[in-house]
Symmetry: D2
Subunit: 342 residues, 4 copies
């Protein structure tokens, strides 16, 4: 019998992406879709690309009987998520896609997000959801916190290098380019087509982007000492895709070997041949992450480039990968769709 799945926040892009992926999953059945502002509508009205699927209509969170739900994806906005999750049954297994449970230290949370955490008791049991590095904890978790999409991309490039002691921890630069769907379906002037297409710009430069909190937490943990990277995100005139260009001091071939070894058994993280460079176009719509390594003309300097689809591997695909683990399914089920190119 398939697992009964609920998705809260189904009217956003990550919610729709979960539905797209789960639709091909043989062991999951979408039992409830919630979106408070659009309750009463059909999913086909909100997302016409899903009209061929037989889905329950949108309801409010309060309308769902969670007794029959095996696992709940929570794709609500930041801050809303913690308020909702604290009210859900204490034994409900949850994969949260918001930023609310990513930071282990409530003080870190308060500092980066500007408010006290509303559900610190849930935070205590949350597992950081970067599958390839927390697989066993995720398998056993009740609540998994999906990572930031930018934070995931940078970590795929860097964690094995930091773990192996191959790079100078005080001199890491992550220059990242991200598609616009990562910002969600929000009505903001800077997300309008006329404002965004045909060009690019940097934003949240200088150490202010909230995904830095995750980099700090995770890299410090891996290194066993404080690590603070430099990070500049740029908005790309494309819907999907993140490309992180990472500058490190360390030997390129050793870095390539370390990455290749770290991901040798991974289904979704692929290291390209030395010198080859990935493109966001080649992972679009898929759960794959491609990594490339190039040595600089100046010895001892290396560029690592990571590409993934922010809505899939960076968010909903990762969430499904984690749910598979939690439900004791094969980790790759529903996630092997090839990228859509061109």
């Amino acid at each position: 019998m398939p697992h009964k799945i609920a998705i809260l926040g189904a009217s956003g892009y990550t919610g729709a992406e979960l539905v797209r992926l789960i639709a091909t999953h043989p062991a999951m059945e979408i039992a409830a879709l919630a979106a408070n502002s659009k309750a009463g509508q059909s999913m086909a009205q909100v997302f016409p690309h899903l009209r061929h699927l037989d889905l329950p209509d949108l309801v409010t969170v309060g309308d769902i009987d969670f007794a029959g739900i095996d696992l709940c994806f929570c794709a609500l906005p930041h801050a809303t998520s913690q308020a909702v999750i604290r009210e859900l049954p204490g034994d409900l297994r949850i994969v949260d896609l918001s930023a609310d449970f990513r930071l282990r230290d409530p003080e870190d949370y308060a500092r980066w997000y500007g408010n006290a955490h509303a559900a610190p008791e849930c935070q205590a049991e949350a597992v950081y959801g970067l599958t390839e590095f927390y697989r066993e904890e995720i398998r056993a978790a009740r609540l998994v916190a999906g990572t930031g999409c930018n934070a995931a991309t940078g970590q795929y490039a860097l964690r094995p290098l930091i773990a192996a002691g191959l790079v100078d921890l005080d001199d890491i630069v992550i220059d990242l380019k991200t598609g616009v769907s990562g910002a969600g379906r929000a009505l903001k002037e800077n997300l309008l087509h006329a404002e965004l297409s045909e060009g690019t710009h940097a934003y949240s430069a200088g150490g202010t982007h909230r995904h830095l909190a995750e980099f700090d937490q995770e890299f410090t943990r891996v290194a066993g000492r404080k690590v603070e990277v430099q990070f500049t995100p740029h908005l790309l005139p494309a819907n999907r895709g993140i490309l992180a260009t990472v500058y490190v001091k360390g030997e390129a071939e050793a870095a390539h070997a370390a990455l290749a070894a770290a991901y040798a058994e991974e289904a979704f993280v692929h290291v390209l041949p030395f010198g080859a460079l990935p493109s966001t176009r080649h992972v679009r719509g898929s759960n794959f992450c491609h990594l490339g390594v190039v040595g600089d003309r100046r010895p001892g300097r290396t560029v690592v480039v990571a590409a993934l689809d922010n809505l899939t591997k960076g968010s909903s695909g990762q969430a499904l990968q984690n749910a598979n683990l939690m439900l004791d399914e094969d980790e790759t089920t529903g996630l092997t769709l090839a990228p859509v190119f061109p």
Copy 2:
């Protein structure tokens, strides 16, 4: 045991799309991939988005032992296709994606394509591959001719209306907008990003586009009298997607009812509620075709809008759908992937 599949012309976009779709097909195995100009390369070199798949390297057509092949997709350029297919084993089942076998009358072919057909004997046994309308012939065919992507789009909008005698046959206008991947991976100045993005233009206007030959052939056949539509294609600054806006004289609600009835049992052709309009974005990467019908303020005039993905339902998806029929598989296998939006 899975069917052994060969793809000729695997270095083009329709070839790559076939691989993407077949990769999820439980009863097909890609046994050979040919691309003469890139023989010796791996598919991952030519199409990095397919690097996660375990695929045979590219070879020349001559290198393939067709004895072990159950079905061959031919995704070669127009004119090349007929020269290659005439040399293939006479009992090999083939789905051709080129324009070479679409026109039943060799004189029509010569007139529209400017050269005599090189394989008229193959033409004689070819079946026109618009699945929903030639299902039984396709099931039994040795050689199926894939339709033009524009021609398919217009036919989904019009065939049931013509068949039912609901529209004035002398006054049909098809204004069509198409993404650029339909033109293939050819090195042409007008396909450059700098030439094509950020705007649109009409081309082959006034009755010169070759897909008109298919409209003429098919609509005349359905109507039982000569039908010549007006057709203007436009190039869209997008990679995938065709939108056909069709102007007919006839009653809108009757047209909607006829379309809804014609496609009621179809898995891939969906008629939206009366008055709703489709978008190419909502079928992107999928095998679905969405149809919308609107009545004009002037009674007796109707607009039908059809949307599909030129590489999938318009080409490689249709080809796989036909191959499923030919191999006695469920028609929808490998083709139920949801559209990728946004």
Copy 3:
């Protein structure tokens, strides 16, 4: 001494486009810029691309002393415009860019816009601002109503043909593709990059788009009998540009000759050689309109294609052209910038 110019609604795209154009005008000086919601800000804050210009800060409309203003452009939203203009000094010369004063008959206005007109006394003196056809009235006008950008495009293609009696008045189809900037800087979900890019769709089909009111008014006037066209707009994944593909019954060469004759002396409306087709890319950022004419394979049927930039010739450029006439300047001053391609 340069003419003192005020622009109301300077925080929208048409306001910014006016500033861009006037910046090169030797006989105009921008004396006041109003945008109630952003009063107090500099123009560089609202539109960083104009930061090199020495411009007055944004103020509220009420803050402007109109005594020193020679001409006022009103680029406010529909409905707001009429409420503001009725309160302005009765002798102030105004070019309005909204829809508020385009329809001569207040009942037409009420029917298409859903509310009674708030300034019918201003409507009475308003001149319809399609420069090439109302030049002398505009020169003498106090209040000029800018045309709809779609309405202008269709009229350039059709007015001379209707005037010359060359087309069947009962069978005109305008299939139009428009860039997104025509919808303004409004926070609407369907204008988000993620919703709009990479595809197209029709909207307001079937005779519901408000620009039809202008087509009806103007074509009926030119023909001397009631004319109702069919009109389907489509949203294009591009910022600027309108392409109107117009289907008429009439002789193509006669149509081409009539258009060529009608615009022979016009600086901005250019008729391409017979059979050539325009592109929105080739008028981008300019005040030019390109027209192409093609005959269909079926004699007596003709396609006329018109391309212009909705923000320039379709709106702010037209407004400046009209202002030049009203201020007795050369009509082309400030408007001869070449298109930006690619």
Copy 4:
């Protein structure tokens, strides 16, 4: 009497951009346009967006009588340019837009470009055309070598900082994003719309891009010691625009002050308020360069972001700016067009 201007290589994007700009120049007249492969055609055939201009038809270089030419722009491909220029009259004033005369040391040229220089005698008199830093040499030069568009962008961000000794010369990273028109109108697979749109990738990473030769030459010259930067270009799905994100070790406020001081009197290079970041969209189609400076959370680390239009300030606009100096015209003539946004 206007200066008589010839443009060699008028069928490429930089050639067309020169025509667009010169069209508004009151003291220049285009006397000859050469494009060997398209000789005999009108400019309107090759670039329909210039059809409103009264221009000479395209001829071969050999057809031009240079006796009547006051200044010649050479917009030919790399390597072709040196072969052509060596045959031109020795007293003809030339602004070259290719890479052929940028490197002072013929050995550097041979090393980076893979062939011996064919016109070393011309190289000896060539002046590097970064206007703001070689103004007096350019004024007096016979032959000016236009800079690389990427090289110009990085230099605007860095030269004043290096000159002032404000940054660690051994730790400079330039992560650059460039629009596609910089690659020219060449028929290359990776420049096709289908290959390039909707995503991004890095190329020529690790110190292999030829514009590094210019960075090395110029930064070493400014610093008085060898300087080798790290440089990774990325291809952006947009036609125009370069954004360089530059990571330096040095104090941010001092860097901002140094840049502001260096460009205080410059017409085209603008330093934004401290902390503000530029966008390529806000310089599109113009000769402006916008610079932003942000301090990192880690003291002593600074991000400088530079934005310009590769076809204008990065190439043809710079060339015209230099030509103005050489012809004793005001440096800004023909170059004050506002950016086109959106």
